[in-house]
């Protein structure tokens, strides 16, 4: 499927925990096939759960959905899913990097690790989205994205299955764009769709 390129944004990073699969799916299924910015997703998974969610996303999305592999090159029209039990990072050159370093706040993949790497790789050309979850992963990472002039989006805690994570992100980034899942998808298309 053809997709254009985008000068404004180099990557969209999304993080979720409890309830995250449904939330990410709602957003990704609303993105058009030609969405030009690569989307990278980190979800917390309970140990022992089969990592079926990339297939689930693929069935509900017009975008290409793949499980991230080390040194994969980021391309538009594609969603990259962090594999279970690895940290996922974005490198400046537009490739993905994995690590099996220690968990960060009991999480691997850590949303903060992903978001921070994206902020460091692309600065203001990063858009970060924090979704439903029961812990505070992603708040610090989103703050870093915002500090470097990137776009910060948070799922409205009132609409989140588990409000703690988006609420924590909002406390760190009070000026983040707040919306329900459909609003977030709409905002991503509006800001990053580059029509």
């Amino acid at each position: 499927m053809e997709h254009g390129t985008c000068d404004l944004f180099a990557v969209v990073v999304i993080g979720g925990s409890a309830g995250g699969i449904r939330a990410v799916s709602a957003i990704v299924s609303s993105l058009p096939a030609g969405f030009p910015v690569p989307v990278v997703v980190a979800l917390h998974q309970r140990g022992g759960e089969p990592p079926y969610w990339p297939e689930y996303l693929a069935r509900h999305s017009e975008l290409r959905v793949v499980e991230a592999e080390d040194k994969m090159e980021l391309a538009g029209g594609t969603v990259y899913c962090a594999p279970a039990d690895y940290h996922l990072m974005v490198e400046e050159g537009g490739t993905l990097a994995l690590s099996v370093d220690d968990k960060v706040n009991f999480a691997r993949p850590s949303i903060d690790v992903l978001f921070l790497s994206a902020a460091e790789a692309f600065g203001g050309r990063t858009a970060g989205v924090v979704l439903t979850g029961a812990n505070e992963d992603g708040a610090a990472g989103l703050a870093e994205i915002a500090a470097r002039g990137g776009l910060a989006l948070v799922q409205d805690p009132r609409t989140a299955e588990w409000p703690a994570m988006p609420a924590a992100a909002l406390r760190r980034v009070p000026r983040a764009v707040v919306a329900d899942l459909h609003g977030l998808a709409r905002d991503l298309v509006r800001f990053c769709g580059c029509d």
Binding site: E67, A68, E69, D70, K71, P83, Y86, M89, V90, E91, E92, A97, L98, S99, V100, D101, D102, V113, S117, E120, A121, G123, G124, A147, R148, G149
Partner: protein, 281 residues
């Protein structure tokens, strides 16, 4: 200066500090981390700064240059992290069912576990080979570049609390014995049975700087290459190629791959989920 520009400026300075630190380490101690993947190295260097107790990366340079003992204590930060036994159980099941039958056809088998860290993977392999009845014909080389980590691997002592996961992995990998047959528990530790070490040689080998030391039938190097940049990965994969006998097997981590064009025609894809390749030239 805007906050964003200042943030960007700080980041640029930190990049310089990291480059200088890695250069200093290389010239002083001979370890070459200059071609490690940037995102990971940044995290590890920051962790090191925090451990040593300095605010800025640059302050690590004089500390590490002039304090050899300190360097010895923190160099392990760069080594492959601790893992679990039979990690990715389906991979070990695949090894047992699809690779061991090939190995069984050789009178003597040499296996290299590259980047063995604290040894969990080597002991897993030893257990598997023993259960398949070919351990006595095998020589296992377990290498890593940090001596204290190698010593821990050679000791084979692990926390008791890690065994619950190890046992679950072992069973899922097709193990049929009581896993406790392979270790002795003592307070809050376990020590792997000494007989598992009979055919294992633990040796210091640095994938960045060292060369071929043996021709082997199987190389295991899982979740090590992810820490290297593309150029270094190429160097190491060439080293593995040259260390393998014709028809020998290379097993990488399940999220790594041998997709570089330079290896087309030199390796065949054997198992795409578990990233096992066979040398064909």
């Amino acid at each position: 200066m805007t906050a964003e520009a200042s943030r960007g400026g700080d980041a640029a300075v930190e990049e310089i500090e990291i480059d200088l630190l890695l250069e200093a380490i290389h010239r002083r101690y001979g370890y070459d981390f200059r071609q490690y993947a940037k995102a990971s190295i940044r995290r590890k260097v920051r962790q090191m700064a925090s451990t040593v107790g300095v605010q800025r990366i640059g302050e690590l340079i004089p500390r590490l240059l002039h304090d050899q003992d300190l360097f010895g204590r923190v160099v392990g930060t760069f080594a492959t992290p601790v893992t679990e036994m039979f990690r990715d159980p389906p991979f070990f099941r695949y090894l047992r069912e699809s690779i061991v039958p090939y190995l069984r056809t050789y009178p003597f088998v040499r296996i290299w576990v590259a980047g063995c860290a604290t040894g969990e993977e080597v002991y897993s392999l030893a257990i598997l080979l023993r259960e398949e009845g070919i351990y006595d014909r095998c020589t296992l080389f377990a290498t890593d570049f940090v001596d204290p980590v190698l010593r821990r691997a050679a000791e084979g002592i692990y926390p008791l609390r890690s065994m619950k996961t190890n046992i679950a992995n072992y069973l899922q990998a097709g193990g049929g014995r009581a896993f406790s047959d392979y270790y002795h528990a003592d307070y809050d530790s376990v020590i792997m049975d000494a007989s598992l070490r009979d055919n294992i040689t633990f040796a210091n080998h640095n994938l960045v700087t060292d060369g071929v030391f043996s021709e082997v039938h199987l190389v295991l190097c899982r979740n090590v290459l992810i820490y290297f940049n593309a150029a270094l990965q190429s160097r190491v994969l060439n080293l593995f190629h040259d260390s393998l006998l014709h028809g020998g097997f290379l097993a990488l981590g399940s999220k790594e791959s041998l997709r570089q064009p330079e290896f087309a025609g030199r390796f065949a894809d054997l198992e795409s989920t578990w990233k096992v390749y066979r040398r064909i030239d």
